[in-house]
Symmetry: C2
Subunit: 237 residues, 2 copies
DNA sequence: CAATGTGAACAAGTTCACAGCG
DNA sequence: CGCTGTGAACTTGTTCACATTG
């Protein structure tokens, strides 16, 4: 369903010996829990890369807030080879994780919703460094059209398809109110944007071949409330 | 470690027959996955309450994006009694969920970080309706101090403890940059705020008795990238 | 000999399928 | 008869413990 995409896997690893990038195994189906942790490992490694050449499962796990057994199992799923008695090569694992996570491609992101949440997202550091590039911003509020966010001019809702096509957007971030979410998703899908991160608190219907991920911040504060009450209860016991 | 909190469990259910609130069982340790779904059920029920008195596990599950077996198991953990052949009483389950999740208490929330993300969060609809009330906003940027967000005046960082104490804040939302997060957490804990929702992309150290929940939006777009690539791959097969 | 890689035990979460009840 | 409640099967994820290796 999705059209063929140009690969750009060597972009980041180009500064490194070719051997490093070659170690990458076929990115088989990884458990979601593992993928979540890989993103954390990557962030830690990004900081570590200037400080040390090698890192033990123990240390990396601690920095990432997990335990060494979990980390080693995660790594083994990537078919990686640490050195026994030594640990993992920081740079090598970094490249491996970037490639595995799909962060060496160029993700041309369309931001739909230029409210506070959209602006927060656009301003977030670290996106550009991992393959994400905002190519356009859309908002239905005429007052916002023409203003700029992060050097990007806000476009009208009617320009969605044209903008997506022009910049060959292959990802969208949705920060619109719940009621607006489904119609926007339909437009995005029609415009060929098949990967969507939504912050709207509603389930979204999409055809096969479209990947949607939802983040629900309101849910998180409610879950905190539950665990807060639990925490108190077990405190006294 | 945390001080005793006044219960206010009857606040929302006060408009209902007392019998409804009485059906509430001891909120035993619920699986995190169940808690996550409960928040979704509640949102659906909030919309359904004006339309129908009763709902089947099948229907509620569909609206919530899950299946009826999961929903019934979740409900059974709450010790709820649906009516066989009929379904669940919408109002009754709504009250049950609110109570279970701890949303009938008054959560006096301190917002630390008045940037875009903080403003987005403060403006989020639905908080007030579920027990959350922002009692103060803090930011370290002097230019923001004195401006207002959602009718609340932004206070200086040095006022954190005084503000927390004055309003008896029992929850905080952290929307500060990563490097600032740990120091702020330490201040919050010292000020007696023992429940924290953090958007900073760093693990936080807190003493026992403090509940922290972390939301990492940068992680979500990276996970989307992974699943996007996966989706393409399995498309062709 | 320090630290990986992994089978096996364990724990958590989901789905099935059906008995039982209103 | 329709729909709940739940044991049991199953799937997914985590932790243990130890053989293995540079």
């Amino acid at each position: 369903m999705s059209s063929s995409e140009e690969y750009d896997a060597a972009a980041i690893s180009s500064a490194l010996p070719a051997e490093l990038a070659t170690a990458v195994s076929a990115p088989a189906h990884l458990p979601e829990a593992t993928v979540r942790r890989l993103t954390t490992y990557l962030r830690v490694l990004d900081q570590l890369v200037d400080e040390q050449a090698t890192v033990s499962s123990q240390d990396l796990a601690t920095f990432a807030g997990t335990n060494s057994a979990t980390l080693r199992k995660d790594m083994s799923l990537l078919g990686t080879f640490g050195r026994r008695g030594v640990g993992y090569d920081v740079q090598r694992v970094r490249v491996l994780l970037e490639t595995t996570l799909g962060l060496t491609r160029e993700w041309r992101v369309l931001l739909v919703g230029a409210g506070n949440l959209g602006r927060a997202f656009a301003g977030y550091a670290g996106f550009r460094s991992h393959g994400f590039r905002f190519v356009g911003v859309i908002d239905s509020n005429p007052e916002l059209v023409g203003t700029t966010i992060n050097d990007l001019e806000v476009s009208a809702a009617s320009d969605l398809e044209a903008l997506a096509t022009k910049h060959r957007a292959n990802m969208a971030v949705l920060t619109v109110p719940g009621v607006a979410a489904q119609p926007v998703v339909d437009q995005l899908v029609a415009a060929g944007v098949h990967n969507i991160l939504s912050f709207a608190p509603v389930p979204l219907r999409v055809p096969d071949g479209v990947t949607v991920r939802r983040v629900d911040v309101a849910r998180e504060i409610q879950m905190l409330a539950y665990f807060a009450v639990m925490g108190e209860a077990s405190d006294g016991t």
